[in-house]
């Protein structure tokens, strides 16, 4: 069984983001990068499936981006993926989700992947589109926001998270794609022996030009820091006094106390 995991490297969300001089992305100086949180669930699920199936499974991990993303690929390899594919592209942040998905679909086309795992969304852009678009382009069945995954007898049974605490259980035939959501699993930490082993695993480079033939359908026209709301009234003083003033506010703003 051939599995593909698509991952993205994102800036650590605790960083301080500033818009760059070009006004089309953030200034990337002094940022730390890590694997997109949701993609870690995807990697973990693929590796678990491989462990379930034994050696008949082969997991490829794919990442698009500048040279630094090889770090993310290496982490995925250390978690248990078998081979890596790096699609070098220093300008991937200027491509829209449609282009990224088209490139991934072009890579996967004809390679006979039975299952594709992606994160539900990326932490930086957060458009949650690439996974579903890839599935649609390849004609795979697809389950998004997956929080439970089970494979058996040639079909996938997935638990999808819907709104308001509702979950749906779906069964879909292969080939299929799942986008992984928080709660699906707990990603493992790569152990030192596995990190050493991962160094021997192959990472193939595929040029973006070979994969991407599409023009963007959406363009980012403006990129700016959010407007700061003017700070409100700051109250300080004695506890009893503060509580009274708060009650006053609640009385004024709502009907609970009337």
């Amino acid at each position: 069984m051939k599995l593909l995991v698509c991952i993205k490297q994102v800036p650590d969300m605790e960083s301080r983001f500033k818009v760059n001089d070009g006004g089309d992305w953030f200034a990337d100086a002094d940022l730390a990068y890590r694997m997109n949180e949701y993609d870690e669930y995807a990697v973990e699920q693929a590796v678990r499936l491989k462990e379930q199936l034994g050696d008949t499974a082969d997991v490829t991990v794919l990442c698009i981006g500048p040279d630094r993303v090889v770090e993310a690929i290496k982490k995925a390899l250390a978690m248990g993926c078998d081979r890596g594919v790096h699609v070098p592209d220093a300008a991937v942040h200027l491509k829209d989700p449609w282009q990224v998905a088209s490139a991934i679909a072009a890579f996967a086309q004809g390679k006979g992947f039975d299952l594709i795992f992606t994160g539900m969304q990326s932490q930086d852009r957060g458009s949650a589109q690439v996974g579903v678009t890839v599935a649609e382009l390849l004609g795979y069945s697809c389950a998004s926001t997956v929080v439970g995954f089970d494979y058996g007898a040639g079909a996938v049974t997935a638990r999808r998270e819907l709104e308001g605490g509702v979950k749906a259980v779906v069964r879909m035939p292969l080939p299929a794609l799942a986008t992984c959501q928080l709660g699906l699993n707990e990603p493992r930490y790569p152990t030192l022996p596995n990190i050493m082993k991962a160094k021997k695993k192959e990472i193939v480079t595929v040029p973006m030009g070979e994969l991407l033939k599409e023009e963007p359908v959406a363009t980012t026209t403006r990129f700016y820091p959010p407007a700061k709301k003017g700070g409100g009234v700051v109250l300080e003083g004695d506890v009893g006094d503060l509580a009274d003033r708060l009650l006053g506010i609640l009385k004024e703003k709502t009907t609970v106390l009337r």
């Binding site: 957060g126 458009s127 999808r160 259980v169 069964r171 980012t220 026209t221 700070g231």
Partner: protein, 441 residues
């Protein structure tokens, strides 16, 4: 009739590579070329087929290193110079491409809102979107339509009218009973191809995100997820604003070459419109022939985690008392629950409180949790990381209680209280109780 002057055609030239400037960026010029005149050599530099090049300047514009320039033959250059001297030609050749694009886009008119329903019950976000859709439709001067898909869901059309729709497109068949990407995708695409709307809005829910992505792919158009702002520019384009990087940066995204323009919006981001009883509209019943056997994915069961006395839905609450790292421990959330009980509200939490195991994940407010828009949001011991702020800053009134005067939560708070939560919260609860008792006497 005077003599008809044939305007001299301005030469467009051919693109050519400026030696030594190409940085092998990854074939951006190649992907931009509309006539496939560019091949890449092994070094990743472009080879331009002069016979094919139409001088559209796209590759020159897209090149990040200014390594491509327009090249004119001596005759063309001479002609250009003449034109320049003649005082810049008034007839800036009407770009055939732009005209074709405008004509293609003009075929799409109207604003649509997809009405999401589970077992016949509509998701509130759909009504919120009708409110926003009303504004957009007014700005465009077109009608607002609801798209209702399901099994026995005709009554949702009248609901949609009450919330502002002029028209409702209805697909009512057993095959649409449960949401499946495949069946709904076919249904929506069928309607889109037939009636051609220029804007489609969907809720950024599990269902909406799934469906919107699939529809956009099939229609080959742009989709912007989780928008927080929608507006129309002076060229009928939808300006879609959304937070990126956990709310640290806002991006405005446009899809000016494709239609329909699609956007999803999270629940509680847009304001709920006023319900107008008795408002009516036109129902357009459509059918999209599809057999159950054609759909590969089967829904086995729909489970609800609702336990006993009902699931707490923080996203729908009017009062939220939220706790963060400053709560110091799980046991202290009881204090917030007491205050919430007095107010008839619910208890929420920041991500750090959830990660610490003090509160369950469904109570989490913020980027990776729920977006809330209550009347009163009381943030207790929450410093206000931007990821938290994006989930609650649209609350009507934000009251923040924190010991640290510099905490970012005070920047979005309507009322900031610098002090000790362990004294203020119980004091408030006590006062509320006294007040209620006094009233009951």
């Amino acid at each position: 009739m005077t003599e008809i002057k044939k305007p001299v055609k301005k030469p467009r030239g051919k693109a050519c590579l400026v030696a030594g400037k190409c940085i092998a960026c990854g074939a951006r010029c190649q992907s931009s070329c509309p006539v496939d005149a560019i091949e890449m050599n092994e070094a990743g530099e472009p080879i331009i087929d002069m016979a094919k090049c139409i001088g559209c300047v796209k590759c020159v514009k897209v090149c990040p290193a200014q390594a491509l320039d327009m090249f004119f033959t001596p005759e063309e250059q001479q002609l250009l110079d003449q034109l320049m001297q003649a005082g810049a030609p008034q007839v800036e050749e009407v770009d055939a491409e732009a005209a074709a694009l405008a004509a293609r886009l003009a075929a799409y008119r109207g604003v649509w809102v997809f009405v999401e329903q589970t077992e016949g019950e509509a998701a509130k976000v759909s009504w919120e979107l009708l409110g926003k859709g009303r504004e957009l439709a007014a700005a465009l001067g077109v009608e607002l339509a609801a798209v209702v898909i399901g099994d026995n869901v005709a009554e949702l059309c009248s609901e949609a009218f009450a919330y502002g729709a002029d028209k409702a497109y209805l697909l009512d068949a057993p095959v649409f009973r449960h949401y499946r990407t495949e069946s709904y995708l076919k249904g929506v695409c069928h309607l889109v191809e037939r009636y051609r709307p220029e804007v489609i809005l969907m809720g950024a829910t599990g269902l909406g995100r799934d469906l919107a992505g699939a529809v956009a792919t099939v229609q080959k158009t742009g989709l912007t997820a989780d928008c927080t702002g929608l507006a129309i520019d002076d060229r009928r384009n939808l300006m879609q604003t959304r937070p990126a990087f956990g709310g640290n940066i806002m991006a405005t995204i446009m899809c000016d070459k494709y239609r329909p323009q699609m956007a999803t919006v999270r629940p509680h981001v847009m304001a709920m419109p006023e319900r107008q009883e008795g408002r009516t509209g036109e129902i357009v019943r459509e059918s999209c022939p599809m057999a159950e056997t054609d759909i590969l994915v089967k829904v086995l069961e729909v489970m609800s985690d609702k336990k006993g006395k009902g699931q707490i839905d923080i996203a729908g609450a009017d009062f939220i008392v939220s706790g963060g790292r400053g709560m110091m421990g799980k046991e202290n959330f009881a204090m917030l629950q007491e205050l919430a009980d007095e107010l008839g509200g619910v208890v929420g939490a920041s991500r750090s409180a959830v990660d610490a195991g003090w509160m369950p994940p469904e109570r989490q407010v913020g980027q990776t949790g729920k977006t809330v828009r209550p009347k009163i949001y009381i943030a207790c011991g929450i410093s206000g990381a931007i990821q938290h702020l994006v989930g609650m800053q649209d609350s009507d009134t934000v009251i923040a209680i924190n010991r640290d005067r510099e905490a970012p939560i005070f920047e979005v708070a309507s009322y900031g209280i610098v002090g000790d939560i362990f004294q203020i919260v119980p004091a408030m609860t006590a006062r509320l109780r006294e007040l209620k008792q006094a009233k009951n006497k």
